[in-house]
């Protein structure tokens, strides 16, 4: 079995997470923002699985299943909101929906 050092996996997870965060912050299209969030979630999932393998504990994998289901739920709600947003503003630009200011 190919052994990958743990910190390599962590670096991968961190890079993935950073990419996701950057996507969330810089993309204006709300679909891409949702995708960025998915990437961030999966980065966390990778870190969990790697840690579970490293310490031979099932907890990390269980946690990944939670992340998976949570992500599915989030996407369904998120896409529903996207539909409503598009219905309301006729655009997918997140910055257009800035009507509610403090």
């Amino acid at each position: 079995m190919l052994t990958v050092p743990l910190h390599h996996v962590y670096v991968l997870a961190a890079v993935l997470f950073a990419l996701g965060l950057v996507a969330v912050l810089v993309r204006r299209n709300i679909i891409f923002i949702l995708m960025g969030i998915e990437i961030m979630l999966n980065a966390a999932g990778v870190a969990f699985v790697a840690a579970a393998w490293r310490w031979q504990q099932a907890d990390g994998q269980v946690m990944f299943f939670f992340i998976l289901t949570m992500a599915a739920a989030e996407v369904s709600v998120g896409l529903a909101l996207v539909l409503r947003l598009y219905h309301g503003f006729k655009t997918l630009d997140a910055d257009a929906a800035a009507a509610m200011r403090g």
Binding site: R28, D95, A98, A99, G102
Partner: protein, 629 residues
């Protein structure tokens, strides 16, 4: 029989509750409840008083414990009634005079829009007053004390749509509050140092533990005196009573003449043991009484409003009671309270009829010649006036005032000066009383009377007139009849003034002098106001006379003095400190929160990506703190 004592205060209280709950009762039903409850209380009180006199309970006292009020470690006041000869006298007078005045009010207030409210307040007043005089401990007494104060406020301001009435009510409440605050501190002091508020054990403990003239006794007596002075409108807190005449006339008769203003006299008599332990304070009581009776009497000379004459006269007569208390003539003070309750409420009720007949005219100078038009009122009013002026031998006022004067001379705590003040007061009393009679009932008729008193208003006048004469015959001096029924009755509670046996020498001469003062006063009034009115006119027009008249008319300028010394600085302070400086601190906290809110609001842009950036930044900071620290 005595077990029914609780009914006496409970009946008017029940009447009050019925009138409050049934606010929409018809006038007739409300009047029946209002008058009937006090009437039933009177019947109960008189039956109990008769029983008490026929067969005095052991120790001349009867205690009825109703329930435990509250219990906080060793502070366990009970709601208990205490009946002794002093309480019997007070209870009988309060319910008796109270009933007659209620009966009179049924007609007097018959057309008033606040008729039912009036009877509710009056019933509450009678209940409170009865609690005050029957209380077994000082806490319950204080409850009644504040209750009568509240009712006094409500009834002075009864016609609250009239700004002057409302202002008079507030004035009365605030001025008596000064005294009440002193009294409350006095009660706390008594409890702190003697550990109880029940009157009888308190008196025993005080006599046991405090030597005569010790600081504690002096402080307690002075503070109680403060309360008494406020309630009884004595110097220096007398200014509220003349203004209190803004209330309906039956209120003035019941509260501001017969009962409530004598609560201070009752309080001092009730706690007389403490006053005996503090001779300088007791001396002060006598001096306050003497000064008040003279100053108020002089003020009464200059008033035009018939009710204000009676108000100043009340202050002056309560001054006599204080004089009696101050020289240790406790029984004489209470005796004068009793006779005064009869003749002064009679005079007020008579004045009320006159005012009603004159269509709300209070000014005596615009009245006159009512003698023929209103004979019943004239004769009863005359009897009341004679009693007030202490017409010798025939009237109740003579016997009570004579007793006070005799004891003021003979008591070791009295002296010629106090006697002289009292005798001069008697002279002034006669003048202003008969000035009132002559201006109102004699001379040319200036305005024909409208309404005549019916039976309902006439009956109380007749009954009170009868009492204004016969009430004096229960106590006559040794030289004349020597009847000692009253003194004998109250003796178990109120010891007689300690007079040395040999001091009775000039008593007859003193009595004659006092009688002469009274008669001379009547004569002077006749001469000044009927025979030679022009003489007085010119005297008043001279510069000195005018100044004196103005001074007396304004009640020696006390109102102005207090206005300058207290009211205006306080109002000024309130105006300066309108933006309360303590509030400033809390307002600054509010302003800081508001400013922070303005800053934080800038972050709420509505751009969801900025929020995400904020979350990311916050997470980085949190993790950095966790890792690095």
């Amino acid at each position: 029989m005595l077990q029914g004592l609780w009914l006496v205060p409970a009946l008017p209280l029940a009447g009050f509750l019925a009138l409050v709950i049934g606010a929409r009762l018809s006038r007739r039903v409300a009047a029946v409840i209002g008058v009937g409850s006090v009437g039933a209380a009177m019947v109960a009180a008189l039956a109990i008083a008769a029983r008490f006199m026929a067969a005095p309970p052991p120790g001349h006292a009867f205690t009825q414990v109703l329930w435990q009020w509250l219990k906080v470690s060793d502070f366990e006041p009970r709601v208990a009634l205490y009946l002794d000869p002093l309480a019997v006298v007070m209870m009988a007078v309060v319910t008796g005079v109270g009933f007659l005045i209620h009966l009179y009010s049924a007609r007097f207030m018959g057309r008033d829009e606040g008729h039912n409210r009036f009877f509710a307040y009056m019933n509450l007043f009678v209940a409170s007053m009865l609690i005050l005089v029957l209380a077994d401990n000082l806490l319950l007494l204080y409850l009644g004390w504040e209750g009568v104060g509240l009712c006094s406020y409500l009834l002075i301001g009864f016609w609250y749509k009239d700004a002057a009435s409302a202002r008079a009510a507030i004035k009365a409440f605030v001025v008596t509050r000064v005294g009440d605050a002193a009294m409350a501190i006095g009660l706390l002091l008594l409890f702190m140092s003697l550990g109880t508020l029940e009157i009888q054990p308190l008196m025993v403990k005080a006599a046991d533990r405090w030597p005569a003239g010790c600081g504690m006794a002096m402080a307690a007596a002075a503070l109680l005196l403060g309360g008494a002075v406020g309630k009884s409108a004595q110097l220096p807190l007398q200014t509220w009573l003349p203004d209190a005449m803004a209330g309906p006339t039956p209120v003035s008769a019941l509260i501001h003449a017969a009962t409530m203003v004598t609560a201070g006299v009752y309080l001092v008599a009730r706690t007389h043991v403490i006053f005996e332990l503090a001779p300088p304070v007791q001396r002060l009581v006598a001096i306050i009484g003497a000064a008040t009776l003279l100053l108020a009497g002089a003020s009464a000379l200059a008033q035009c409003d018939i009710k204000r004459v009676l108000a100043y006269s009340t202050i002056s007569q309560v001054g006599y009671m204080f004089l009696a208390l101050g020289v240790g003539a406790w029984g004489a003070g209470i005796f004068h309270f009793m006779t005064h309750a009869f003749f002064k409420s009679l005079l007020f009720l008579g004045a009320g009829v006159v005012i009603l007949a004159m269509e709300e005219e209070h000014d005596m100078l615009k009245m006159g010649g009512l003698r023929k038009a209103m004979p019943l009122v004239f004769w009863t009013f005359l009897i009341g006036a004679c009693s007030l002026a202490a017409l010798p031998l025939a009237t109740a006022g003579f016997y009570s005032k004579d007793l006070i004067l005799a004891e003021a001379w003979a008591s070791p705590k009295g002296g010629p000066w106090l006697w002289a003040a009292g005798a001069a007061g008697a002279f002034i009393t006669s003048i202003y009383t008969f000035r009132m009679v002559f201006l109102t009932f004699f001379g040319p008729m200036k305005k024909a009377p409208g309404v005549r008193p019916g039976v309902v208003m006439g009956l109380p006048l007749v009954v009170l007139a009868a009492f204004s004469i016969v009430a004096g015959f229960v106590q006559m001096p040794e030289g004349m009849g020597d009847v000692q029924l009253f003194a004998g009755f109250v003796k178990p509670v109120l010891p007689a003034a300690p007079i040395e046996p040999g001091a009775g020498g000039p008593e007859l001469a003193l009595g004659l002098a006092a009688a002469a003062a009274s008669l001379l006063g009547i004569l002077a009034a006749w001469w000044l106001f009927l025979a030679r009115p022009a003489l007085l006119e010119s005297a008043v027009r001279s510069p000195v006379g005018a100044a004196l008249h103005k001074l007396w008319f304004e009640g020696w300028g006390f109102d102005r003095l207090y206005d300058v010394l207290l009211v205006r600085p306080l109002v000024w302070l309130a105006r300066v400190n309108r933006a309360d400086f303590i509030d400033g601190f809390y307002r600054a906290i509010g302003a800081a929160g508001d400013g922070l809110h303005l800053v934080l609001r800038l972050t709420q842009t509505g751009h969801v990506r900025w929020y995400a950036a904020g979350v990311a930044f916050g997470a980085i900071v949190a993790i950095a703190v966790l890792v690095l620290l």
